[in-house]
């Protein structure tokens, strides 16, 4: 490179900029040292109090970090499990850790670098905001589920209904996402997803009434605490089965996979999304799965009830892990059912089953056989 007459200026300019940058960084660190140390000492002063601090609960357990970690492992587990059942290997080669567990990080990096394509005639504000709202609505229910009587971020007196409010929000977001893509196949795909999710809301609510009846409260902490002697899945097994099936339908898992079906309607309502919006949708769906699995555990599997050698939160984590494993194993075991079979199963088979279970519980209560629960 030839020395231009302005080369000397650039050299001094670079030196001056470096000095200014280092000096300002040093000044910033010096200024922030006091407040930073006070924040850290506030958290470290009393580790016991730190572990039940609300900020810890929101950020680490059972909030962002824990839910994100379980979702991460669920994505990896789903691919690995399906692969093993199908006599394949699954993710294996990404990164140094064995088993391909870093595959998710590789996918994350790939998606972050992808171009975000916005269709030309689409409704741009709604197109961009729909994945954001899908992520928000999908991941907020994590806040409501208790992992023990102390580890609950939002202890709402009508917590169960607020959980279902987020279930009810989701079809609206789906409809906006499909419509704003300006693509007939996306729109039809979003309509199908909407029919599926709206239809299976009713068996979900009805079958969740059984634990409410047994525990006598809509507060999730109360429902979990009422299962100290017997798990509700043993008292109301039909409701548990209906609830689990409705969860699979709400999460668009197999066998209710029509909306995301790869072999029909391209990718359904997700067709026009690529890159980070797609990541928001998918990761939000997996965090939603963690929230629903935790809710199923609290409602039917006894919540944090377990033998005393482990803390209640650990029992909850173990049970949620088992439920998540069952949910992701459906990918390997079930074929996909048709749309009309799906809707008729929801309306004509699951709703009567849920009502039958509720009626049997009422009969049992009148006969006085449920006195052992109080």
């Amino acid at each position: 490179m030839t020395e231009t007459p302005r080369g000397d200026f650039f050299k001094t300019f670079r030196i001056v900029v470096t000095i200014v940058f280092l000096a300002s960084t040093a000044l910033l660190l010096y200024m922030l040292y006091g407040p930073a140390m006070s924040v850290i000492s506030y958290f470290l002063r009393d580790p016991q109090a730190f572990l039940v601090d609300p900020l810890f609960m929101v950020l680490i357990f059972p909030g962002l970090t824990y839910a994100g970690l379980v979702a991460y492992l669920a994505i990896w587990g789903e691919r690995k499990f399906a692969a093993k059942v199908q006599n394949r290997v699954g993710p294996l080669y990404a990164g140094a850790l064995p088993g391909g567990i870093l595959q998710n990080i590789a996918d994350l990096v790939k998606i972050l670098f992808k171009e975000v394509i916005i269709p030309r005639d689409s409704d741009k504000p709604i197109f961009i905001l729909a994945p954001v709202f899908a992520f928000i609505v999908g991941s907020l229910p994590v806040v409501l589920v208790p992992y023990s009587p102390t580890y609950v971020i939002l202890d709402f007196p009508v917590g169960l209904i607020l959980f279902f409010v987020f279930t009810a929000f989701y079809p609206l977001v789906l409809l906006l996402a499909g419509w704003s893509s300006n693509n007939k196949f996306s729109f039809i795909g979003s309509l199908r997803a909407l029919y599926q999710q709206a239809s299976y809301e009713i068996p979900l609510f009805l079958s969740a009434l059984a634990p409410v009846m047994l525990a006598g409260s809509l507060r999730l902490v109360d429902i979990g605490s009422a299962q100290g002697s017997v798990w509700f899945i043993l008292v109301a097994p039909i409701s548990a089965i209906v609830f689990f099936t409705s969860i699979l339908a709400e999460l668009e898992k197999y066998p209710f996979d029509i909306p995301e079906a790869d072999s029909e309607l391209v990718a359904g309502w997700l067709t026009e999304y690529s890159g980070v919006p797609y990541l928001l949708y998918q990761f939000g769906a997996y965090i939603k799965m963690v929230a629903y699995a935790s809710l199923f555990t609290v409602l039917f599997l006894g919540g944090w009830a377990g033998f005393a050698f482990l803390a209640p939160e650990w029992w909850m984590v173990i049970k949620v892990a088992i439920v998540v494993t069952i949910v992701i194993s459906t990918r390997a075991f079930f074929p996909r059912i048709r749309m009309d079979q799906l809707l008729s199963a929801g309306w004509t088979k699951l709703i009567p089953l849920a009502l039958l279970s509720l009626a049997s519980l009422v009969v049992l209560q009148m006969l006085g056989l449920l006195a052992f629960l109080r």
């Binding site: 409704d123 709604i126 709402f156 007196p157 009508v158 209904i161 607020l162 279902f164 409010v165 009810a168 929000f169 079809p171 609206l172 409809l175 906006l176 419509w179 909407l194 709206a198 809301e201 409260s217 809509l218």
Partner: protein, 232 residues
């Protein structure tokens, strides 16, 4: 109420009013429908603020979960209407502006009078709360034209603003009377058992009738929507 509670209440009021205005004045019907569901959300925040938790979640479930989807469906069926070119876009603005100034003066006078008679209230705050939303209303009405105009006057908007003023003015007397009542400002604990007892006990028959009504409304809507296909 503490200062933060007061600020939060004003913020929720501002958000909800903004959503209601956007629902009426936004250019496309779909944006209006989405703003309307935002309005329903804001209203449920009001219910949470009042301590009526079950009502809040019920409002969210029914309105944002179901009615919003219904409205959005209908709006998508109706689709984008072609916009006619606006003619005489600012004709009649003087009339509307004059109407606004006259009414706002009357309004301000009334607010001052009420606050003068009610010596225990904050004058400026009352005037702001009485006049503020009307100012915003009229600013939206004048600035954000949501409908195509083929004529040169704003008589519809004038009627609308007049009606809004009359409705709000008729509330003023009730509001100042309410200021002299002693209200129950203690804490209200939410009890689900009360709601359940009243819904299923005192209003049990009404619930059954309501269920029949909703079922018939659903049947009627489906029948209306299907009739076109059978005729063809």
């Amino acid at each position: 109420m503490t200062r933060l509670d007061y600020l939060l209440a004003i913020a929720i009021l501002a958000f909800t009013s903004l959503m209601a205005l956007l629902a009426l004045e936004s250019k496309s019907l779909v944006y209006g429908a989405v703003s309307l569901s935002g309005f329903f959300l804001g209203l449920s925040l009001f219910f949470f603020e009042l301590g009526l938790l079950y009502l809040g979640v019920f409002q969210l479930l029914v309105y944002v979960g179901a009615v919003s989807v219904l409205i959005l469906f209908a709006v998508m069926v109706i689709g984008h209407t072609p916009r006619k070119p606006t003619v005489g876009r600012f004709g009649g603005l003087g009339f509307l502006g004059g109407l606004f100034i006259a009414l706002a003066a009357v309004f301000a006078g009334l607010a001052m009078l009420f606050s003068f008679l009610d010596l225990a209230v904050d004058t400026i705050l009352q005037s702001l709360i009485y006049i503020g939303p009307v100012v915003v209303l009229l600013a939206f009405a004048v600035l954000f034209r949501g409908e195509p105009r083929g004529r040169s006057s704003y008589r519809f908007e004038a009627f609308g603003v007049l009606g809004a003023f009359l409705i709000f003015g008729s509330f003023l007397g009730a509001l100042s009377y309410l200021g002299s009542l002693s209200v129950f400002s203690g804490d209200v604990t939410f009890s689900m058992a009360d709601v359940a007892q009243s819904l299923l006990g005192q209003y049990g028959l009404l619930m059954v009738v309501l269920g029949l009504l909703l079922a018939s409304a659903a049947f009627g809507a489906v029948a209306l929507a299907k009739k076109e296909k059978e005729e063809k």
